[in-house]
């Protein structure tokens, strides 16, 4: 089982050591998960910090029924979605970290910005497309982070690709 060392530390009530291992192992993935929802790195980092603070508070309650990662990703997604709702008055959520696309007058696709087309997808499709490319195209990793089957990730991804291609062609 993954994270056996963490589970053993938790069973022995060594919460600080377990927390440090989880922080080192999952900080990037929690940050990416928050980023896939908030689409802005500063907010995503704040949310990721809050996720680990929450984790620290509830760590003594871990009962070993679910994997630590599943538990952490659930906290991450819920926290990021709450933050997204809290800032929903904002009309645009820029991918501020992105470089502008290369300008190529012959390629219609490249004249578009991701921030223009991505919001046309459903929330889960936006998360999956973003995480897929952030996670070096691993369907399994994305499925693990969202706690859904790999087949569900693929079907969302395929639907999103068709939709994005239509948008870009039009």
């Amino acid at each position: 089982m993954a994270d056996e060392d963490v589970q053993r530390l938790l069973c022995d009530h060594h919460y600080a050591l377990a927390f440090e291992l989880i922080l080192q192992r999952y900080e990037k993935k929690v940050f990416y998960l928050a980023y896939s929802i908030l689409k802005e790195s500063a907010n995503a980092e704040d949310v990721a910090q809050d996720v680990f603070v929450k984790l620290w508070q509830v760590l003594p309650l871990y009962d070993g029924r679910a994997a630590v990662s599943t538990w952490l990703y659930t906290i991450s997604r819920n926290t990021a979605l709450s933050a997204l709702r809290a800032q929903s008055y904002r009309k645009t959520l820029p991918f501020e970290e992105c470089d502008p696309p290369a300008v190529d007058p012959d390629a219609g696709l490249r004249r578009l910005q991701l921030k223009e087309v991505l919001p046309r997808l459903s929330q889960i499709e936006q998360e999956i497309v973003t995480l897929f490319y952030l996670q070096e195209c691993s369907v399994e990793d994305v499925a693990g982070m969202l706690d859904v089957p790999a087949g569900t990730v693929k079907s969302h991804l395929h639907r999103a690709r068709r939709r994005l291609a239509e948008l870009m062609r039009s």
């Binding site: 922080l23 309650l61 991701l114 497309v129 490319y133 952030l134 693929k154 291609a165």
Partner: protein, 137 residues
């Protein structure tokens, strides 16, 4: 292989999910079908576009330090978890002493009845507090 199957395989190829045997059948279909060839070209452009645009953001170097600082500040802001229990016991003892002095009954009777009620109420509030914490978590 029809166009619908071919397009699903094309989409799957971007997930690294097409097996060698399927690849041959797909290539054969693409060599004969302009619609699916266009579909492939468009999806390849889209894949390139997404790879270029979705750039992994960098976590700041002080991320872990910031998490630890937040946890430490929460600890210093929090009252100790045992404080309500100590306050309850201290209040009960003070109430019993006052009752034993002021009430027109024998002091031992007041203390016995008062202590019994205090213990029952303490157990009840412990049960309710645990249930409430579990429902919040």
């Amino acid at each position: 292989m029809n166009c619908s199957e071919a397009q699903e395989k094309i989409l799957a190829s971007f997930d690294r999910d097409v097996f060698p045997g399927q690849r041959d059948a797909l290539d054969k279909h693409l060599s004969e079908c302009a619609t699916c060839s266009d579909f492939t070209a468009l999806q390849s452009q889209l894949d390139l576009f997404l790879r270029e645009q979705i750039v992994a953001p960098q976590l700041s170097a002080r991320f872990r330090a910031a998490v630890r600082a937040k946890i430490a500040s929460q600890h210093s802001d929090m009252l100790p978890a045992w404080l309500p229990d100590v306050a309850y016991v201290a209040g009960s003892v003070a109430g019993l002493a006052l009752g034993a002095v002021l009430l027109p009954f024998a002091a031992t009777t007041v203390v016995e009845i008062g202590a019994s009620v205090a213990i029952v109420v303490y157990l009840l509030q412990t049960f309710l507090r645990t249930a409430l914490q579990q429902s919040i978590e």
